[in-house]
Amino acid sequence: MDTVSQYLAMGGYAGFVWPAYGIAAAVMIGLLAQSLSALRARENDLSALGEARDKTGPAER
């Protein structure tokens, strides 16, 4: 347990080392998640348009 807390303390620099890794992880995971959800949203838009056309035909609605 002592070695774990000693490791986490990062020689007294824990307040600088861990936030640096945390922010990098947050930005990179956040970008990936946002890119995935944006793609899904656009694909839903497209399939919704396709369904609307199938139901009413391209000239109506």
Binding site: M10, S35, L36, L39, L49, G50, P58
Partner: protein, 252 residues
């Protein structure tokens, strides 16, 4: 229909590349994290803060190389009108902005304990901050016009003009006095840092580079689908003028 020939090929190729690049990015970053946080020694002067380098330096490299890629894509888009080039530039900009943000924040977190300050207005730090604003400006211009092709052209010109900043950033540590240390990896005569620190640094750099690939593909695909949606909506508006009169702007 020939205009869509290239995007179709891109979609086929990207479907193959996407899973491989995603898995290898995860593996490289996992190995990089292991060496960064466990299997590398503390620096004799900087102690454990040297571990910040393993995210800071790869992120800063990515900030520059993604911008270079955007400038190249913008040049291709303006000269040869390749339909995917604007899409690639648009998709890459937020990723590059993210890496620049990481480089700035981790640099600040490293500067405070080692230099005694979060920020100085010196050449390296200021020029990277300008790079961040160039990314934001590029993203804003892309969406600033009703006619998206005008936004693309404006953003492409900004990317090309702003490219002058890239060599300024690279050589800022040699041209001006700065708190920031000069290059210790990409320099004539080889790297000057210890082997044990090069391993995590390169693993993380490869991991960040490979991470860029699947995220870029996802964003380019989203943009291609968004274009299809726009074209389909426009086609419907033209096909049904009554709808337009009844509810202006409702469907577009």
């Amino acid at each position: 229909m020939h205009r869509f020939a290239n995007p179709a090929r891109f979609l086929r190729m990207s479907a193959v590349i996407l899973p491989w690049s995603a898995v290898s990015a995860a593996l490289f970053i996992a190995a990089g994290l292991y060496f960064s946080l466990f299997a590398s020694p503390p620096d004799y002067q900087q102690g454990e803060t040297v571990r910040i380098m393993y995210v800071h330096v790869p992120a800063a490299w990515m900030a520059l190389s993604v911008y270079t890629m955007i400038a190249a894509a913008s040049g291709i888009a303006l000269v040869w009108k390749h339909p995917l080039a604007h899409i690639a530039a648009k998709a890459a900009a937020p990723i590059g902005a993210g890496f620049t943000f990481i480089a700035l924040v981790t640099g600040s977190l490293w500067g405070k304990p080692m230099w005694g300050t979060w920020w100085v207005w010196d050449a390296r730090l200021t020029s990277v901050l300008i790079l961040f604003f160039l990314y934001l400006g590029h993203m804003a211009l892309m969406n600033a016009f009703e006619d998206s092709s005008r936004g693309e052209r404006a953003a492409a010109i900004l990317a090309l003009v702003g490219f002058v900043n890239v060599p300024i950033i690279k050589f800022s540590v040699d041209w001006w006095n700065t708190l920031h240390q000069p290059a210790s990896i990409l320099r004539l005569g080889g790297p000057t840092i210890d082997q044990h620190m090069l391993v995590p640094l390169f693993l993380m750099a490869i991991g960040f580079t490979v991470y860029f690939v699947p995220v870029l593909i996802l964003r380019m695909r989203a943009e291609l689908v968004a274009r299809k949606v726009r074209i389909a909506r426009m086609a419907r508006v033209h096909a049904a003028p009554d709808v337009l009169r009844a509810a202006p702007g409702g469907t577009a």
